[in-house]
């Protein structure tokens, strides 16, 4: 089971934050096919959040075929987003760590590293490399 959080200052609609958190967990393999998601009531009680927000998030995920709600039982994961990429993630994480160490040795601080990473990511996506 995963727990949700809400960042009221993120500017992102609360329901989209929930959608992203489920997708994130699916990508990283924290949620697998058949896993149960928290009930609407559990999320509402935990986050003090409007129930329609949770309903909207679950409906969006259901629409994308990622989860399924079974009446009387709960909501379950239908499909994972990790797929084959999960196996290669460990290796990629190791090379990223090496790069991060190098960046720190070069004197870059967290914010500079983030900026450099995001900038390079955008640049490479724009060129169609990644």
């Amino acid at each position: 089971m995963i727990t949700f959080r809400l960042d009221t200052r993120s500017g992102l609609a609360p329901y989209l934050q929930l959608v992203q958190q489920v997708k994130h967990a699916l990508r990283l393999g924290m949620l697998e096919v058949g896993d149960q998601l928290p009930t609407i009531k559990q999320i509402v009680a935990e986050l003090a959040i409007n129930p329609n927000t949770v309903l909207k998030a679950y409906r969006e995920l259901e629409h994308e075929g990622l989860i399924e709600s079974r009446p009387g039982q709960g909501t379950f994961v239908l499909k994972t987003l990790a797929g084959a990429s999960l196996q290669s993630q460990a290796g990629l994480r190791r090379s990223l760590l090496l790069w991060l160490q190098e960046a720190q040795q070069a004197g870059l601080e967290e914010e500079s590293i983030q900026a450099l990473f995001l900038d390079t990511l955008r640049e490479s996506l724009r060129r169609g490399v990644a």
């Binding site: 809400l6 009221t8 500017g11 609609a13 609360p14 329901y15 609407i40 009531k41 509402v44 009680a45 935990e46 986050l47 003090a48 959040i49 409007n50 129930p51 329609n52 927000t53 309903l55 909207k56 409906r59």
Partner: protein, 302 residues
Amino acid sequence: MTGALETMGLGKQYGDLWALRDCTLTVPSGRVAALVGPNGAGKSTLLQLASGLNYPSAGVVRVFGLSPRQDPGLVLPRIGFLSQDRPLYRGFTVAEMLTMGKKLNPRWDDALARRRLQHLGIPLKRKAGKLSGGQQSQLALVMALAKRPEFLLLDEPVATFDPLARREFLSMLLEATVEDGLTVLLSSHIINDLERMCDYIIILSAARLTLVGDISEVLDRHKLLISVRRDTDGLEHLHNVVQVTHTERQTTVLARTNGHIWDPSWEVHDVSLEDIVLAYLGQPQRDVPTVTMDRADEEVLR
């Protein structure tokens, strides 16, 4: 579907002063609606008229299609009202408050009340007046929920809470909306948390209604438009201009849009709910916009 609350031209006059005027709105069933506005805007008056504690000077108020003043026997068992001043008998113990609730309310759910109190760690033997402020408010909410209302009205429920008590109170309230399909109307002058809790908003300013609607729809429709200094005539032709600010070089408009902004000379930004509310508080409007939701997901949660 009839709304939990419907008003038409509703008004309340005290002497020469109108506390609420020309108020026409609907709160659909199953919603958690926020009633916002500065002190004296008419929030408490609207809540009192809706709960039958006061009678209108003008217009009509209906709760589940019925008049709370003319059919109190049919309306009152279905609604709960929590006023600002924690309505408890301070000399009663918590257990005595429950007994009173049981004797006065035909639909009283004693098991529910005891379960919630236990969960909150509120002792039954303690006198209500000896509980902390947060606990008194929680007890008042437990009492209101144990009545099993279908529509709960709360007047400034969390104004004086510390952050933890506020969160616990709201959790309990929102959980009840899932369990019981409860409709909630709560007044507040704290607007930073509303987007999280509520899905419907009613804005009052100076005794008048200035905006009603589904919150996500309200957020979708309102945009902040920025341009080099110019007039807004072309814009007003297609969209509703809520607020305009000119500086020497720049024009900034908060608009309720009726579709895409095609004019590329306007830079279009999203606006936070707080900024939208603040803009409407400044401007009593002649025609009250109702931002309605016409999507399929208007359903009551059970």
